[in-house]
């Protein structure tokens, strides 16, 4: 099997701006005085609080849980006292209940945080239970509960686990730094996933602009017969899981389907590392590496930040905003990240980056009529016709937009990026998707 220079059809070259932080080692962020931990950071059912105002909590203590299968518990990231449980805005744009905890500065670990034993001694079921209890969700942004992903229905035969180390979003380097600094843990995490799902083949896919990460993981996995490292062409959106599966295995996930339909499961590199830590140290997902970057911030950094720390605190630790007003603050990368109304929002499990664009970078360009150059078709990784879907969406003809396969759009933004007329292609297709889905629900 070829494992060098793999890729998919379509996509676009985006300047990756990773030089700002790719060489900067991960630092521990300052201890937050207060954290606001959202009870709903994942896809699925929101958690119910397990603590009440006035309770004292310790690091790693479970503070929220839901009965539903598709959900993930949340844990305290500090030791201290619960001050309030109140609805607050979170960076996904939702307003959800958050547990506000004032830190006592002692950083006491909860007694549940202890090693879970050797991987050889754990059964697949036990591994999945550990992952579930640790509250691990997809850390690449989607926030899908990992234990659900690792429990495919028995009729779906899985033969490949892929660790997603593509990190194709410009600017972000959190996964990159983790792969360079802790490759052994990622290999361990992959082995744990392979055991949990009962799979013999694990592949770590990394874009070629991270040669040090490729080297580190090759070195860390050299004694593992079943684990391979694949180098991927630098092209956006290489890290989209369906594109990644296509590049590595040649298989195509059917339209509307899931990776398991072609026998694959994809796990982000940070998530894989969190799984390793959950087993090795018994550590629930209460902190994560965040890349704070962009021209709008003084000292770009890769920080290990406790969940619930406000964006404001984190940005201040990077020297604050650069001279001049910040134009945009984005959670995630510039292609798919979510721009923020306020910096008083907490870091959540899916916050891989905080990107600050300057006013000039953020300034929207005038939108011109479509000239039908066809570049949006060339770059679309799904091979849609963005110009037509967008034009129907803007005329509120969502039925027509659906006929042009609007729902297959992965919202990667490549079409809007390349458009010479600066048309809001991905933006309007996103609108069409929402309208189509709302209509289906109403039926």
């Amino acid at each position: 099997m070829k494992l060098e220079n793999l890729t998919f059809k379509g996509g676009v070259n985006v300047p990756h701006h990773k030089e700002l932080t790719e060489k900067i080692p991960i630092e521990k962020a300052e201890e937050p005085a207060v954290v606001a931990i959202p009870l709903h950071q994942h896809t699925g059912a929101p958690c119910e609080p397990l603590v009440k105002v006035g309770d004292t909590v310790k690091i790693g203590q479970k503070i929220g849980e839901a009965q539903a299968f598709v959900s993930a518990p949340v844990h305290s990231s500090v030791s201290g006292t619960v001050k309030s449980i109140t609805p607050m805005a979170i960076p996904t744009g939702l307003t959800v209940n958050c547990v506000v905890i004032e830190s006592d500065g002692k950083n006491e670990l909860h007694e549940s945080v202890k090693p879970k034993g050797k991987l050889e001694d754990l059964s697949p079921k036990e591994i999945i239970e550990i992952i579930k209890e640790a509250g691990i969700t997809g850390m690449g942004g989607a926030g899908f509960p990992t234990h659900v992903k690792l429990s495919p229905p028995p009729e779906k035969k899985i033969d490949t686990i892929i660790v997603n180390g593509a990190e194709c979003e410009p600017y972000l380097t959190a996964d990159h730094r983790l792969m360079v600094e802790e490759p052994e843990k990622i290999v361990f995490g992959l082995k744990a996933i392979m055991k949990a799902v009962g799979v013999e083949r694990g592949i770590i896919g990394i874009e070629k602009n991270k040669p040090d990460a490729i080297l580190a993981l090759k070195e860390a996995s050299k004694d593992e017969e079943n684990i391979h490292v694949a180098s991927l062409k630098v092209k956006y959106p290489q890290g989209d899981e369906k594109r990644l599966i296509n590049a590595i295995t040649g298989r195509k996930v059917p339209s509307g389907g899931l990776p398991m339909d072609v026998g694959a499961i994809v796990c982000n590199a940070s998530t894989t590392l969190a799984i390793a830590e959950a087993i090795l140290e018994g550590k629930p997902l209460y902190e994560r590496v965040v890349t704070i970057t962009g021209k709008g911030v003084k000292e770009p950094k890769n920080l290990k930040v406790k969940i619930g720390t406000s964006f404001k605190d984190v940005i201040e630790q990077c020297g604050g905003f650069n001279e001049g007003a910040p134009g945009k603050v984005i959670m995630g990368g510039p292609m798919m990240g979510i721009s923020q109304f306020s910096i008083d929002v907490p870091v959540i499990k899916g916050s891989g980056g905080i990107l600050v664009l300057t006013e000039e970078e953020a300034r929207p360009e005038p939108v011109l009529p479509c000239i039908r150059c066809g570049k949006c078709l060339e770059v679309c990784p799904v091979r849609l016709q963005p110009l037509y879907i967008s034009s129907y969406a803007l005329k509120s003809d969502f039925g027509k937009a659906e006929k042009f396969n609007a729902l297959d759009c992965i919202e990667c933004g490549a079409c809007s990026y390349i458009c010479p007329a600066k048309r809001p292609l991905a933006e309007s297709i996103r609108l069409a998707k929402r309208e189509i889905l709302a209509k289906r629900k109403a039926k």
């Binding site: 676009v12 985006v14 410009p170 369906k242 296509n246 195509k252 996930v253 059917p254 339209s255 389907g257 007003a325 910040p326 134009g327 945009k328 603050v329 984005i330 510039p334 292609m335 798919m336 990240g337 721009s339 923020q340 109304f341 306020s342 910096i343 990107l355 006013e359 970078e361 953020a362 929207p364 360009e365 011109l368 009529p369 479509c370 000239i371 039908r372 150059c373 066809g374 570049k375 078709l377 990784p381 799904v382 091979r383 849609l384 016709q385 110009l387 042009f404 396969n405 297959d408 919202e411 933004g413 809007s416 390349i418 458009c419 010479p420 007329a421 600066k422 991905a426 933006e427 996103r430």
Partner: protein, 346 residues
Amino acid sequence: MDSKVMDTSKAKDLALENMLLVTSSPHIRSRESVQRIMLDVIIALIPATIGSVYFFGINALKLILISVASAVFFEAIIQKAFKRPVTINDFSAIITGILIAFNLPASAPWWLPIMGSAFAIIVVKQFFGGLGSNFMNPALAARAMLLTSWPTHMATFTGTRPDVVATATPLAIMKYGMSADSTASATVEAATSASSAAGAELPTLWNMFIGNIPGAIGETSVLLLLIGAAYLIIRQVIDWKIPVFYIGTTFIMLVLLGVEAEFLPYHILGGGLILGAFYMATDYASSPVTPKGRIIFAIGAGFLTALIRVKGGYPEGVSYSILLMNVATPLIEKFTRPRVFGEVKK
């Protein structure tokens, strides 16, 4: 709210919130722009423009300047009249102007490009919604209009030497010269070509390649047109597949229609084929956006070009074949929708 009790840091935060721009992703854009694309096309047309002045003299320059100036003028006037934003700074009218002039013989009167520009810009382009919405290539539509309205002016070609007043294009020589049967031609335009073609001799292939032959001022120099085309392909402004499939199909069809081998190079290098295939058939607005559609479009244009040239009443078929394929574009797109990634075969 009492602003006095607000401490300054809070005021700063509130100010920040009002400043942060919030939009749907993506948050960055490429440096591609409509203006840059159009500028690239103009740059690509410069060698052929210089060549046309070199080969056909100062009248060629005059025609090009009048054509460009009138195209830009009509664009601004009609947009003002329609109360639309004036978009002459996107440079697209300049391209239309150059291309209209390129389709004229050097002997054309000064008012001919003005008529052409008015029709191209006002009727074909702006009546249908402006840049990107024109259903036909404006310059080609203008050429067709001029050809039907003033056939003598449009088909009286001068040679590249100033002493020759009227002569025939290589395609006209091949069509009528060999048989010397000028009475058989059905149209005035064809008759004009035919009368001058009778008994004329074909130029050398080298002269055909560099453009030292009678013809419309911008279409004769294959060499200079190809230099510009290479630039457009390298800059990824045009899709190489359209000209390659177009010219390839024309060639194959000419062979199938029984054109003798010695005349084939004249067909490829002569007439408007190179200009049409690289600069007109690749027009974004009037050619399909789908990858397969572009190939079908090019094959269709090649097929029609050969058919018109060999079996039709005109010596030249490039403009009509592209115009016909222009109007077929929506239909072609409908049937060539790309298969979506992972689409289940039905």
